[in-house]
Symmetry: C2
Subunit: 335 residues, 2 copies
């Protein structure tokens, strides 16, 4: 008896206990699931010309946005070819027995960060990083006009097993639901605000500046620090000293200033930990403009080091062998 055909369409399913939306994305390919520690099937350099390099634009012809630089492009945004979420359609919220479902609607954009094939974020000239940050700001402003979307997140992965073709690229994702981590941060910030009528991030920034020992770097507009309760060794956050929930309001001058600290932080990480793989993410407030007083946008940077994750997965208990004071000391020391 043949198995009945499976639904190969992606959808969003809500866990009734954790109240978390999970993307079921069968078309992203169960068959490409690599075993832990092995590079994914699409990693490596051996699969023809790099589709991100200048000259290969016809492989990703649909430009969502592009930043020009003289005769060529400096940053390029195209639809992700295996999107987590799909831009076309309505949400189609519905029930299936006791469960909740909707269509896997959202934006998943692929950003080619730079024309040069081998340049990593830690190597970026400041004007290039500034252009890239301005591009994220522009995508945030554009995607928020779509009323289906609740949050816009930016994600950058660096390191061999993470990146296709080794050419620096990043993701802009707009979701029709609050991503769990963002929802938790917003909920925590709201609770703190309810108690004190102050932004918890502003208070934490003041505290870190006062204590000093977890500060990695600062300039006139931003602070890089290893958070007090860092979940991961060598975790860093970069946050504006002035309160702001909406990354879309970033001023032009501030973009250059943020670029300076972002490149600085990644260069420090590379030196301190011998070029580890890492992820960088922008956490910004809801695009509907809620929680403006409570939330505070920031970038989070986490190197992927091989310490034991079983306990974290099983229980949400994070154990960190590197106190942030020590991380900050090593990261301050050199870049």
């Amino acid at each position: 008896m043949p198995a009945r055909p499976l639904n190969r369409m992606s959808e969003l399913r809500r866990d009734p206990i954790l109240r978390r939306w999970v993307i079921m994305a069968p078309e992203r390919g169960a068959d490409t699931l690599a075993r832990r520690g092995e590079p994914p099937a699409d990693a490596g350099e051996a699969r023809g010309p790099c589709p991100f390099c200048p000259g290969s634009e016809s492989l990703n012809p649909d430009e969502i946005a592009v930043v020009r630089d003289g005769t060529g492009w400096a940053v390029r945004v195209t639809p992700d070819k295996k999107p987590l979420l799909h831009i076309e359609g309505d949400l189609g919220r519905r029930a299936a027995g006791m469960f909740d479902l909707m269509n896997a609607i959202g934006a998943h954009e692929l950003v080619t960060d730079v024309p040069a094939h081998t340049l990593t974020w830690a190597d970026f000239p400041l004007p290039q990083m500034t252009r890239l940050l301005e591009l994220y700001r522009a995508r945030t402003r554009d995607l928020r006009r779509d009323t289906r979307f609740r949050f816009v997140v930016v994600l950058k992965n660096h390191g061999a097993t993470w990146s296709r073709y080794g050419h620096s690229h990043s993701h802009v994702v707009a979701t029709p639901f609050p991503p769990k981590r963002l929802e938790e941060e917003v909920a925590g910030a709201r609770e703190y605000y309810r108690m004190r009528e102050r932004c918890v991030f502003c208070d934490q920034i003041s505290e870190e500046l006062r204590a000093g020992e977890r500060v990695v770097a600062r300039n006139a507009d931003f602070l890089t620090f290893a958070p007090f309760a860092s979940e991961h060794p060598y975790e860093m956050w970069i946050a504006p000293l002035e309160h702001a929930a909406d990354f879309g309001t970033l001023a032009d001058g501030a973009a250059a200033s943020l670029a300076e600290l972002l490149v600085d932080a990644l260069a420090r990480l590379r030196t301190a930990l011998a070029d580890p793989p890492y992820s960088v993410a922008l956490h910004a407030g809801a695009v509907d403009g809620g929680a403006q007083a409570e939330f505070h946008w920031h970038w989070e940077i986490v190197p992927h080091l091989g310490h034991e994750l079983g306990m974290e997965w099983a229980t949400g208990i994070f154990s960190n062998p590197v106190p942030p004071e020590e991380a900050a000391r090593r990261l301050r020391a050199r870049r």
Copy 2:
């Protein structure tokens, strides 16, 4: 100028935004942090005799509990030599500026699951798995008498880069705080109960039995299923059909019945995915007996497959390329 000496004592730090306790455990060794994908420094077989094997008891002489089998032991519990949490002392709750701290108090016990060096859980004779489950029940009952503790969790990791010496062992951890994941589950279950006065787990079990397509196996007392909104490919849960929040109340007959489904599930996973690394965890209610009507203990099983984790880390957005219906179909097919 020499750096000032660092505090090498472990402590619990609470994140003021996420309201999550993080264990700062410098004595667990930042220097042993392996790079992603490389086995940790203490993995492998090449470091002398296995300390878990019969004959090596003097390497871990302090027995917390032991299950005898004729002249030898069948299961043995000793203190973990690099504990996440320490049993001696008081909680010492205190502030540091705006932050909250307490001592890293708790129990971290190492369970040698079986005398035989090469036997994995999927190979366990049912009497051995039954003894092990009864041992977890006994440790739950014993640890709850310590009023400092809020939750008792059990964690088992299987697979090359996870296990020291390759000899099957597991962890029993008692925490003075609600582990984040457990706290979320309890909060979700409480919210559901407040709305309907029914256990959300009981409802989900009924729904899975009715739908059928995500059921992997069942017997008279327990159900193994791939949850509707599985965060991870091939995730399985095993839950009692009868409501129970407290693993300490597991009846003797039910332990044998649970052993049957647990070994069955791991044997299916090994066949379906060619012996993947995996983690298994017991999620049970608070040891103070709260949320008895709302919470429902269960075991969660997750294979560690190498799909992209950046988005999950950055945002809490889980994307799963294997719908649980397909996972259940493959897991049902053979073992």
